[in-house]
Amino acid sequence: MADEKTFEQKPRAIKPMRGGRGMPVPKGMIKKGTLGRLLKTAFKYYPWQIVIVIVCILISSSGSLISSLFMNTLIDTIIPKGIAQGFEAAAWDLTALILLMGGMYGIVVLATFFYNRLMATITQGLLYRLRTEMFAKMQTLPIKYFDTHAHGEIMSTYTNDTDATRQLIGQSIPSLLSNVLTLVISICVMLTFSFWLSLVVAVSTVLMFFVVKKIGGRSAKYMIAQQTSLAKEEGFVEEMIKGQKVVKVFTHEDEAKEKFDEYNEKLFSDSKKAHIFGNVLGPIIGNIGNFNYVFLTIFGGLFMLTGWTNYGFNNVFVGGGLVTVGVIVPFLGMSRNFSMIINQISQQVSMIAMGLAGASRVFTLMDETPETDDGYVTLVNAKEVDGILTETEERTGVWAWKHYHKADDTTTYTRLRGDIVMDMVDFGYVPEKQVLTDVTLYAKPGQKIAFVGATGAGKTTITNLINRFYDIADGKIRYDGINVNKIKKADLRRSLGIVLQDVNLFTGTVMENIRYGRLDATDEECIEAARLANADDFIRRLPNGYETMLTGNGANLSQGQRQLLSIARAAVADAPAMILDEATSSIDTRTEALVTDGMDKLMKGRSVFVIAHRLSTVRNSDAIMVLEKGRIIERGTHEQLIEQKGTYYQLYTGAFELE
């Protein structure tokens, strides 16, 4: 078991582009049907609210039309009347019009207000549902998903992608809807007045679209480049800052700065270009609108002077009419409106693309295949009366597998002993690369089984299979004689307490973290568990004892202290069997001896699997398995293995190296 390289042994995270903040939106990342699905989800939860919103948007976007009609009536009908017949004659007409307009504006304002408020409810409600659905779904995903996706990438779905979706639902879609409605209204009005003048507008519209495509396209291109450089710089910064202490120890600050400047310069150049193209778009589109206005007036004047026959919806059926001031003035107003809206839409294109890409990723996560669970054998508390096991509610310290047999409609109870058998098991994280071959092992109830072997030999893999984080390719695993595939995953895992080398603590008090092992444990039980794990001592010395808040994965504790806490957490769970995966690697040997004593007492009569590279940790095991390259090459007790004078013996005497 010489020192062996371990490339590609574990499933490697696929890291397309580092996650974190500001994920890029590569083209083609928008899944088909995303918009439809989003709208459908929205309709499902807020059907009537959405109908009201649409009606309100209709009303509020007709506001501009109302204004232009108002001005038209005012200037064309009422003012001439007043000029001709004096103010008194037109006073009533004027007042009526103003009041009517006031009323209409009032309705528009109310509609806007209602739709803004409703949108707040809908957007936040929908986001809440997307988030929680996504999270609940994520809990059902197999470990493989987490092993093969960069955590930054998953996080980014909750932050950037959800934010982009919020923009899309809350702002882009409603304003696009309102813009399109106004646009349609404007086109209709323009066509009503004059086909010829509409043609002039059409020409400049084509020009605008051309500009949007050209400049907007380049802006989007650099926007993506910017996101990529940002992700790269972020990756570099993260690596450097995580290793900041090493940088300092090696006085490597200047080299780090130099390299940083390279990344920073690239990011600057990309983001500058992206922003320039984005910023320039607005003034260009806006002024094409102004040019359009001027040319319209010139053409209008020409038509008027030459007595050109004008066609519009208002007169096409009566054979057309002349271009008059009454045609030109409202038309010009409408065309101004029109170009303003196009400008607004052009500013939104990139937001919508970003939002859709974000929503796509949210849906992708929701569509992941969950962990399958066909198990039906459940774990129950039991008590034994006259040699017969019966199910009971209370914790008795005795567990049983409740096994329903379909064939003869009977239920049997099998006492949980921790009798685990692996029979000719083959396994690989990816089909091409087998990690375990023909592994056969048996743990008799109450035994302490140890795995010894180099990194990548397959020790952790075996434990991953017992609790079914991964499913085997070939062979069988039996738990108390039951095929583990028949056991409900939740119950299988509940029967196994696990302490891992990498400790994960959660934000909350020390007490809450220990109680994570068993939610209904009393304070006394938690403290008892902490004592057993030898953690009580240091916990009491923390500023607030058991009520000390832990944040950032217990950042203010040492690695050894965190391991003690995680052992306490497993101890309070009081599981019938236990897996300790390098659980004491950061604890000094004296403390370890105390912890091991405590654990041995707790686990008396229960099965324990131990993985360790410190041989002193595993010496008192009932059976030691020596693994090499996915095979068990030796097994036996410490004495037997020493007797054999094989690999274990060489390891023990220091002739070989572990890890």
């Binding site: 936040q124 710089e233 010009l332």
Partner: protein, 586 residues
């Protein structure tokens, strides 16, 4: 805070100043355009004689204005982009450079993920707010003033109506923002908590699954998500008042102006000096005032939101390193002797307990010193004082007979090489990683130190040998391999003092012994300090320190300690129990 941030504008001052000026030009044109438009389609002119001349004259003026406006707007966009991106670049640069100056104490204060967020998300927020300021915050008030001025040019009597409406609106916007802002601040905190819970869940998913806590986690998350939803909805509902209210007031003003304007025209009769097109121009200005106000409130909200980001950035920029190199510090370290005199240390002034207390220690140059002690006995703290990663709270530490605070920092750290417990390899080849120790090292030198650290043997088995690429965090080499590479890297510095902080824990006894043997033979003049869990690692040291609770409780060589120190004897016995017949331990 704003002052600290603005220092980073530097070479982008010019575009930052030019942008608002160009924006002002654009705003000016945009105000004139509706005026000339109304002139161009002035009813009497359209129908009268020489209508075409009239139209063409104004068309020419308008085209010029539009061209000027487009150029100014486009250029302003360009300069604004340059200035804001440049500002962001400098902010990131300044922060990174500042972090490089940080002492260990400063690094401990900011978590690494928070520093990364500050350098990315927060800078992006400030960049956006800065660009907003340049482009809009100047332009909007100007547009606002121009629009009001033009209204007065058209008709002073009617324009007063706008002037009356504006203050009312201003107050209302102010109230809305003032009410909504604290809510948003609260939301951001809850939002952070929400993201944090996802983060914890994702990285702890094995724990979640093995304790079957999926439902518990989902409930926890739902509660946090619902908190965010409630507050966010509340805040957005308040902001929802903003737009309709402004529309309401401006429309009211427009209607009032329409009434009195129409009355004025009618009273004057035909040929009066106030004509209908001027009325519509006045109304256009009304709309411009409205949009200016809306923009203004938007900018206001956005800037207030980015203030928090700005504060977080300034916090880094203003953080003073608590370990600074003295001016004209000594650059020569005489030898590898170390002396601790009455040293006490605590990590922060506020901490109640001392991490180290009353430590006196004398180490001669070239000695090998072992340190043993339980979890949390401050072994690491002790050795970190030697290369001045932290400064002592009381007493003094000297190296080569001189107080460490009198050395130039770089010079001191070059001579005191430390292999940290939480060591890191960086992405790059093995060679690149090793050359951290000495940039100019030749391949032969690299090989030599790797042989010393027993790393050469496994590096040679890699297909790419010394050019093997190490992944970020060194995930593709085993723990033992990583430790040996780190030792080799430290050896390359040829230090006068070499410190190994539990650096061979994943290396087997045999290799461990070989490394120690190599140290003894190859670098006899270097002072070697070894922190270890294994007695075997320090057994043969000249001096062994036993630490407990921040104090040195025993000191001596193996033989004396076996007699005098219970802790040492106990540890020794636990580790060697029953195996003396077979030999060492792995």
């Amino acid at each position: 805070m704003v002052k600290t941030l603005l220092k980073s504008v530097r070479e982008y001052k010019k575009p930052a100043i030019v942008t608002p000026i160009l924006m002002a030009v654009e705003a000016f044109c945009e105000c004139l355009i509706p005026f000339f438009m109304s002139q161009m389609i002035n009813e009497s002119a359209l129908t009268g004689d020489g209508a075409m001349t009239h139209i063409l004259t104004y068309a020419a003026i308008l085209l010029c204005l539009a061209a000027v406006s487009m150029t100014a707007g486009g250029l302003a966009g360009k300069f604004a982009a340059t200035a804001s991106c440049g500002f962001a670049k400098n902010l990131r640069h300044d922060m990174f450079y500042r972090v490089q100056k940080f002492s260990f104490g400063n690094v401990d204060k900011f978590s690494s993920s928070s520093l990364v967020t500050r350098m990315t998300t927060d800078v992006t927020n400030v960049q956006q707010a800065f660009q907003m300021c340049l482009r809009i915050a100047i332009r909007v008030p100007l547009q606002f003033i121009f629009a009001i001025a033009m209204s007065f040019v058209i008709n002073p009597n009617l324009a007063w109506i706008f002037v009356c409406v504006v203050p009312v609106l201003g107050v209302l916007i102010f109230l809305i923002v003032r009410y909504a802002m604290p809510l948003f601040k609260k939301i951001f905190k809850k939002y952070d908590a929400l993201n944090n819970s996802v983060q914890e869940n994702v990285s702890g998913i094995r724990v979640v699954k093995s304790f079957v806590r999926e439902k518990h986690e989902t409930e926890k998350f739902e509660k946090a998500a619902d908190d965010v939803r409630k507050d966010f909805t509340k805040a957005e509902k308040i902001l929802a008042l903003n737009a309709p209210m402004m529309t309401l007031f401006i429309n009211l003003a427009v209607l009032i102006i329409s009434f009195f304007g129409a009355k004025l025209i009618m009273d004057n009769g035909a040929g009066g000096d106030f004509v209908p097109t001027e009325l519509s121009a006045l109304i256009t200005y009304g709309v411009q005032i409205l949009s200016a106000l809306m923009m203004f409130s938007m900018v206001f909200v956005m800037i207030s939101m980015s203030l928090e980001s700005g504060r977080r950035i300034a916090e880094v920029l203003e953080e003073e390193s608590d370990v600074v190199s003295p001016e004209n510090g000594k650059t020569e370290v005489a030898d590898g002797s170390i002396c601790f005199k009455d040293v006490s240390f605590k990590y922060s002034a506020a901490a109640k307990a001392y991490a180290l207390q009353d430590v006196d220690l004398e180490i001669k140059s070239g000695e090998t010193v072992g340190i043993l002690g339980g979890t949390g006995s401050s072994k690491t703290t002790l050795i970190q004082l030697i290369p001045r990663l932290y400064d002592v709270t009381e007493g003094s530490v000297s190296v080569g007979g001189v107080d460490v605070r009198e050395y130039d920092l770089d010079a001191l750290r070059k001579e005191v090489s430390i292999v940290l417990q939480k060591n890191v390899l960086f992405s790059g080849t093995i060679k690149e990683n090793l050359r951290w120790g000495d940039e100019n090292a030749t391949d032969e030198e690299l090989e030599r130190v790797c042989k010393l650290a027993c790393a050469d043997e496994f590096i040679k088995t890699f297909p790419d040998g010394y050019d093997t690429y190490i992944e970020q965090g060194g995930t593709n080499v085993s723990g033992g391999q990583k430790q040996r590479l780190c030792i080799a890297r430290a050896l390359l510095r040829k230090p006068k003092i070499l410190i190994l902080d539990d650096s061979t824990s994943a290396v087997d006894t045999r290799t461990d012994a070989m490394i120690r043997q190599a140290f003894k033979e190859e670098i006899p003049d270097t002072t070697k300090i070894i922190i270890a869990q294994r007695v075997a690692s320090v057994e043969h040291a000249d001096k062994i320190l036993i630490m407990d609770g921040g104090k040195i409780v025993a000191c001596g060589n193996h033989e004396t300690l076996m007699q005098e120190s219970d802790i040492y004897r106990e540890t020794y016995e636990v580790q060697t129990k029953g195996k003396n017949s077979e030999g060492g331990e792995a």
